[in-house]
């Protein structure tokens, strides 16, 4: 077996979840959908975050009872495990594509404006391949190194933009339609739960379930708080109508800062950090998806799988640019309902375990 999960501590795992939660929260594939109901985005994000944590706690509680260390323990020997693993795999793939797509948009819109998307992807792909193939230990330890810098950059961005904050931009506060809020919250649930799902997939590398639970809590809460603050900063800086049309709102927040002092122009340095975070979280999701697939299908070496899945993610991103609007519409629809793929299998697994099904055979490769 060469799954390259390795071993990591609570801080490392929490950092990886924190970064993934932050990038998934900020880099939505469809800004129009995210801000469809104005600044309700902040409220729905908070609700979805809370639900994700509850779901994570439920899974961990079952794992502790069954003395398992990762989500795969819940699959057991059930014949329908691949049926449940497949939607989870696709939801992780979609989660990985989100930051990658934003990476591409930001770089082509603001940095290398004359470059074609395929050229950027040629740089993106080897980095992503390498990161994914190196495995969980490399990813989470790199996350631990990047997180403090990322937090400083987010704090600096929010503080530098203070002069342009206007509370009137938060109005109207859309609390009128509960049905819309629930629908929007369901869409956001996919983005808030994906980092925890990825952690559950690679939980085998953590010291024990308690460490994984603690890392998930810290990472998710920290990431959600950072994302919430950034969303609030965006809401105070731009009207929701502007936010719907912005290709990379977070980068716009950086370049909106009006200062005559060139040392305060942190846009490029900050962007570098945020793009590194996007790349790292994409690799984190892709690696988790690969582990899920490898364990379910009994694949011994994760590297060929990592290369294929990374290439698949980058190709799908490129298809967005080189195919018709239909592809974009299909992907938008997929993101809208991706929460079904990410969430629905979890209660089924929990219920299956409650009834005593899915007992794990310890001699099997996935245990």
């Amino acid at each position: 077996m060469n799954l390259r999960i390795g071993a990591f501590g609570r801080q490392e795992a929490a950092s990886a979840v924190w970064i993934a939660t932050f990038t998934s929260g900020c880099f939505a594939f469809d800004n129009h959908a995210q801000f469809a109901d104005g600044n309700a985005a902040c409220l729905t994000y908070a609700g979805a975050a809370l639900l994700s944590l509850l779901l994570f706690e439920a899974v961990v509680a079952v794992l502790r009872r069954r003395r398992g260390r990762d989500l795969l323990r819940l699959f057991g020997n059930a014949k329908w495990k691949s049926v449940l693993a497949l939607p989870l795999f696709f939801s992780l793939l979609l989660a990985a594509m989100q930051p990658l797509q934003l990476f591409l948009v930001t770089v082509t819109e603001y940095i290398f404006v004359e470059a074609r998307q395929v050229s950027i992807c040629m740089v993106l792909l080897p980095c992503l391949l390498l990161l994914t193939a190196l495995g969980a230990e490399t990813l989470v330890r790199t996350s631990r190194l990047l997180l403090p810098l990322l937090l400083v950059s987010v704090a600096a961005t929010l503080l530098l933009a203070v002069s342009q904050y206007r509370t009137y931009r938060l109005f109207p506060i859309p609390l009128g339609s509960a049905k819309k809020l629930v629908a929007e919250g369901a869409g956001t649930l996919f983005r808030t739960f994906s980092p925890l799902l990825a952690l559950l997939c690679i939980g085998e590398g953590s010291q024990n379930v308690r460490a994984m639970q603690s890392a998930g809590r810290i990472g998710a809460l920290g990431g959600m708080l950072t994302t919430g603050l950034l969303l609030l900063g965006l809401g105070l800086s731009f009207s929701y109508v502007q936010l719907r049309e912005m290709p990379s709102p977070f980068f716009r927040l950086l370049i909106e800062v009006r200062t005559e002092n060139p040392t305060m122009r942190l846009d490029r340095a900050t962007l570098f950090l945020w793009m590194s975070a996007a790349m790292l979280s994409s690799a984190f999701y892709l690696y988790a998806a690969c582990v899920l697939l490898a364990k379910t299908c009994g694949i011994a070496d994760i590297r060929p799988l990592a290369i294929c899945v990374s290439a698949l993610a980058v190709t799908l991103i490129l298809v967005l640019y080189y195919d018709s609007d239909t592809t974009v519409a299909i992907l938008r629809g997929l993101y809208r309902f991706a929460w079904i793929a990410a969430i629905v299998p979890i209660p089924l697994l929990l219920l299956g375990n409650r009834k005593g099904g899915g007992e794990c055979d310890l001699s099997a490769s996935h245990c």
Binding site: A36, D37, G38, A40, E109, Y110, V113, M122, V123, L125, P126, L129, L130, Q164, Y168, R169, F171, P172, I173, P174, L175, G176, S177, K180, F238, S239, Y240, V241, Q242, P247, R252, I255, E256, V257, R258, E260, R303
Partner: protein, 386 residues
């Protein structure tokens, strides 16, 4: 593993970042962008460009004004790139200037509807309206004694903005004012000193520059103060510096500024006003009440005849009257430059309902009561703090 690494190295080889590299002195940095009506094409685009020297003592950084007629922004950039020896780059652009005759018809909107990102333009460009030829305006800002970027920026931006006489509005905020119902744009207004003046629309006798006193006679030949008032994307009137300050007070952008009042005997009185706390605005149907809280620092000797309470009440009354006159002038031209739309948005509970609402129709029926609360910092008869 070795073959994997070799394959990776081969993949990395064509990714050399130095391909198509350009040295820094092959770029010309656009500092200001100006747009006005063209003669053969719809737009005349003017750039104030900073060209770096080649490093020798005789070739310092120089600023030049270049123009091109075009239909779109990209066309102007391409035309000038083809004709100019250096490649234009917009990463240091900080000012967008719209000519008055373009802004009066809203003809700048199709032009500004370009992708800023494609030219590496920052959305924090300061936006301004001018009443002279854009070339003259840019040349007016260039001083032979100090042609540096800092001097231009200081003269145009910081001084006028810090004195409270001009509205400091970025491109993003301007767009928000044009496309949304939170309030109409109010942009800084500039002109060449020798150029004819547009009268203030609120009925003052002052010039639109420099708070209504005198046209400046300085080393820079372009003055900036007062504001151009918009109804959506169309410029509808001009306010002088003092009236601009009063609009900014309601918008809670004002921090400090010197205002000129007339005493009962007709003599002028100069008072420096400071913002004490945020204004309170209550909107109830078609009636609004605005409460402003200011601190006054009167320094003129003419007020020695008044006691503190009389002076305070007099200032409150004068300021309330001026605010009502400015609001009436703005309402007449259909501009919500004071931003009452921001308060209207609070009553809505869904984005759709707010977007479907026609705020401007209700704005025309709005009646506003201004109440100003002034605290005197000191009185010339009693130099200590009260």
């Amino acid at each position: 593993m070795r073959s994997f690494r070799v394959a990776l190295l081969i993949l990395l080889l064509p990714l050399c970042g130095c391909m198509h590299a350009k040295s820094l002195d092959s770029y010309a940095y656009v500092l200001n962008i100006g747009v006005e009506r063209g003669t053969t094409m719809p737009y005349l685009v003017t750039f104030l460009v900073s060209v770096p020297g080649d490093g020798t003592e005789n070739t310092k950084i120089s600023n030049r004004v270049i123009t091109a007629e075009a239909r779109t922004f990209s066309e102007a950039v391409n035309t000038l790139n083809a004709a100019y020896p250096s490649r234009l780059t917009f990463s240091r652009a900080s000012l967008l200037v719209l000519h008055e005759n373009l802004a009066e018809t809203g003809a700048q909107t199709p032009f500004l509807d370009f992708s800023f990102g494609k030219e590496d333009l920052w959305q924090n460009l300061r936006v301004m309206v001018v009443n002279g030829s854009v070339r003259e305006i840019f040349e007016g800002w260039l001083s032979e004694s100090d042609p540096s970027l800092r001097k231009i920026k200081t003269a145009v931006g910081e001084l006028t903005v810090q004195s409270g006489l001009a509205a400091d509005v970025g491109y993003s905020e301007y767009l928000e004012g044009v496309t949304e119902q939170y309030g109409d744009p109010l942009l800084a207004y500039a002109g060449v000193n020798e150029y004819g003046l547009t009268p203030d629309s609120a009925g003052g006798s002052a010039y639109p520059y420099l708070g209504g006193s005198l046209l400046v006679e300085s080393i820079l030949h372009t003055s900036t103060a007062g504001s151009a008032v918009f109804d959506g994307d169309r410029m509808v009137s001009v306010l002088d510096g003092q009236h601009t300050m009063e609009v900014l007070m309601v918008k809670d952008v004002f921090r400090r500024g010197e205002l000129l009042f007339t005493l009962p005997d007709g003599s002028p009185m100069s008072v420096t006003l400071y913002r004490m706390r945020a204004p309170k605005i209550r909107l109830n149907g078609s009636a609004a009440q605005v409460e402003l809280y200011l601190e006054a620092d009167p320094t003129e000797p003419q007020i020695l005849s008044m006691d503190s309470e009389t002076l305070r009440q007099y200032l409150e009354q004068q300021l309330s009257g001026e605010l009502a006159a400015v609001f009436a002038a703005l309402q007449r031209v259909g501009s919500d430059a004071m931003g009452f739309g921001r308060c209207a948005a609070r009553a809505f509970r869904t984005a759709e309902a707010w977007e479907a609402y026609d705020w401007k129709a209700d704005y025309q029926r709005l009646s506003v009561t201004f109440s100003v609360s002034v605290k005197l910092a000191h009185h010339p008869q009693n130099p200590g703090l009260e």
